[in-house]
């Protein structure tokens, strides 16, 4: 029961309440720069997710042997090693995507969400919950990337999954969806300012949902607590 609620709390934190993209606002540089298409967003999201899970698991596994004074350089070393490995693997197996993500792949090292999770959670908890935390934080970050990528791609070029073959191989070019065609694309959505504006709307939407939930909460509180507990055991 306590373990299950721990995992539930981790998921809730990573995916919504403490989402690295929408709430902690960490890793904004890659978040805003590569989300011009959904494919790019998925690529960077998966790469970040992989690094986050690996680094969290490793850091948690070695936490007894790391002296407190030198923990940060060691965390950075481990994260940098994983990022370099992911970069090499993507260069070898998803060459086209590697080229379109360019400089933002090595920049995963500087994504504060990763070292943040290492310091705040992985270095104090066992391997299993630490990996799970990495997974949930990574998925949360990837979901924000993908939402932003989808919005910008639809507004900017009127397509979805453009260039999916770069990520998934030749067959994936059939995934491309043409929503509308226009000769003059909506430039603002593709350029960096569009990323900031879309991001602003996303954060606003999240806050609006949160406050509307909070507004309903006080009246129903006494009843819902009862029901939640029943759900847990059932």
């Amino acid at each position: 029961m306590t373990e299950r609620s721990e995992y539930k709390e981790l998921s809730w934190q990573g995916l919504w309440k403490n989402n690295p993209g929408l709430v902690q606002l960490l890793g904004l540089c890659p978040l805003l720069a590569v989300t011009t298409t959904l494919t790019n967003a998925i690529g960077l999201g998966l790469a970040t997710l992989l690094v986050l899970v690996c680094s969290n698991a490793t850091i948690s596994a070695i936490r007894q042997w790391v002296p407190k004074e030198v923990r940060i350089p060691i965390f950075v070393l481990i994260i940098a090693a994983f990022v370099t490995c992911v970069q090499l693997l993507m260069n070898a197996f998803t060459f086209g995507l590697y080229q379109s993500l360019g400089i933002f792949l090595p920049l995963i090292v500087t994504n504060c969400a990763i070292i943040g999770r290492a310091e705040a959670y992985a270095s104090k908890n066992p391997v299993k919950p630490a990996s799970f935390d990495g997974l949930m934080m990574g998925v949360g970050f990837a979901l924000v990337l993908m939402t932003l990528g989808a919005i910008r791609e639809i507004l900017g070029q009127g397509t979805l999954f453009d260039g999916a073959e770069l990520l998934l191989g030749e067959w994936a070019s059939i995934l491309r969806i043409e929503i509308f065609t226009s000769d003059t694309s909506f430039l603002l959505a593709i350029l960096p300012p569009g990323a900031f504006i879309a991001m602003g709307f996303l954060i606003a939407a999240k806050n609006a949902i949160d406050s509307s939930i909070a507004a309903k909460q006080p009246k129903a509180e006494a009843k819902t607590i009862e029901r939640v507990r029943v759900n847990f055991e059932g």
């Binding site: 011009t36 350089p73 090693a81 070898a92 003059t184």
Partner: protein
Amino acid sequence: MKVAIQNNAKVLALFAVACTALVSLVSLLTKDTIARQEQQQLLSTLHQVIAPERINNDLYQDCQFIKDEEYLGSNQSQTAYIARMDHVPVAVAITSVAPDGYNGNIQLLVAINVDGTLSGVRVLKHKETPGLGDKIETRKSEWVYNFNDKDIIDEKDLRWAVKKDGGMFDQFTGATITPRAVVNAVKNTMLYFNQHQKDIISNTTSCRGQHD
């Protein structure tokens, strides 16, 4: 105190060695795949501008470095790939740079048949504005196919300009600088080829560092 410093240093060194070992291992395992991918990428671009059925030599090996800042747009060495059918040259693909793009250099691959007409042009790398200048890519627009089969008389050939400047190539709505830069670079590459065709074709030193 001293012991603590020694211990910390040891732990740090240990992790540095372990991480480096991991990266070296992955690098070693992926090295061949990466090299193959790069070669394939290059070959598939080359085959777009010179149809594969026209040639039967190893394009990847049959290449050489050329350098001409005025005509090829860069003080770096560029590469010329020579396409042959049964040892007879049919076309040469030259990498060149348009240094005056809207956002810096535009890297091009210009394939010219031995009779001086263009076989095809592709943009290898650019930083032009998405939605405006990036119509030079084949994914975004068919513009670059306009170069196919064009020829050039001499340096003063007035057709080699965008329509706005009285030439034969379309500019894009809202972006004239990009197509102007590309047209100019292709023109210069062709002029370079016309002057140096014999040298390029007769030179047998491969850019891969081996002799034919």
